[in-house]
């Protein structure tokens, strides 16, 4: 297991829809979704079971952050190339995302 995870697990897996996160999962541990199919969970046995159940790839925090940052920077570059009208209509530049 990675050594820089702190109190969280970092996973990469596509949201498969119904059953991906159940109400029982949500009651047992905190889970947050981020760009690039990155998921961050409280580091407890139940969240590790969730990762295994969904065949999620375990990442270190820095690996997960790199995935998120690459996605966001690509979106920001796309937004920067928009016309002024499209920028005004778009409700803002995609924000930088820092994982917990």
């Amino acid at each position: 297991m990675a050594t820089d995870k702190g109190f969280f697990n970092y996973w990469v897996v596509a949201n498969s829809g119904k059953g991906f996160i159940t109400h029982i999962d949500s009651r047992k541990f905190w889970i947050g979704g981020y760009p690039g199919n990155v998921w961050v969970c409280d580091d407890i046995p139940e969240s590790r079971d969730w990762g295994a159940r969904n065949s999620a790839a375990s990442k270190t925090k820095s690996q997960a952050q790199t995935i998120v940052t690459n996605i966001v920077e690509a979106q920001q570059a796309t937004w920067d190339d928009l016309s002024d009208d499209d920028k005004a209509a778009s409700h803002g530049r995609p924000p930088t995302v820092t994982l917990p």
């Binding site: 109400h23 889970i31 409700h91 995609p94």
Partner: protein, 324 residues
Amino acid sequence: MANYKEIHGVNVEYRTGDATAVIGDVWYNSVTGLLKAYVGVGAWASGGNVNTGRYGIVGTGTQTAAIAFGGYTSPPNLYRDETETYDGSSWTEVGDINTTSWLRGRAGTQTAALATGGGTPPDNRTADSETWNGTSWTEGANINTARTIGSGGGTSTAALVIGGYTDTRLAIVESYDGSSWTEIADLNQLRDGTAQAGTQTASLAISGRAASPAVLTVVESWNGTSWTEIGDVNTGREGIGGDGVSTYALAWGGEINPGTRQAITEQFDGSSWTEVADLSTARRYGASAGTASLGLAISGDAPPSTVATEEWALAASIETVAFD
């Protein structure tokens, strides 16, 4: 102070075991000597993914029979006309709306819905209204004031459109009688990006933005005649989602300052708002459907536009009543 019997007409029941889960049940366990209760604890779970993730999408219906339409994707930067329906497990693309648009008002059900106003390319606002009959969209009576982000609610023949944005934020409210829109009493507060819960005659305008960058915590209640400020949400947000009735509502997601998408969920019990379980995917300008006890958070801007649907449900949880 009234005691339990004076309020409920019966004494607290003595039981030798813990009861079958029914939310609201209260009993005294004579074996353990503990006062117990079943309380409703809400949580989000994954629902089926939408086919086209987008933001500025709007929706209506129930948790097992919902409809969502319109929106905007970025990238690619496109206004959307897709309509999708939900059966409680998966989304299916059905007939497109006629006016490609985002940030519309909404009302009705999966088989009788209303879309009002919204934003159209390149950066215009429309007064257009459309009705959905379960199969296709038909042009309806236009609202009086073209706007984006005007929240709405009610049925397809008895609806409201509340606030929104033209070149400035609006307090204007319009009411629909099935054939035409009439301007009624203004909100107390200019606002857009507001969530709505309730009906044409009993509704809430929840949070939103008053003027950039100030988000509102103010909630207003409509009684069919006038708007009254009631209990504030704990965290003001723009692009907040919500549903329910005027005395029991759910509000989720949104954005505080530009770039700070939120997963926060709050529940209204008729007098105050309480923060409850977070969404798993923070988002703004997603679509809402359902009720405060069985709700849906559909797509929205994470970013990028997420395909994720989340389903809110209450489950009975056995609690021991503690005394100080």
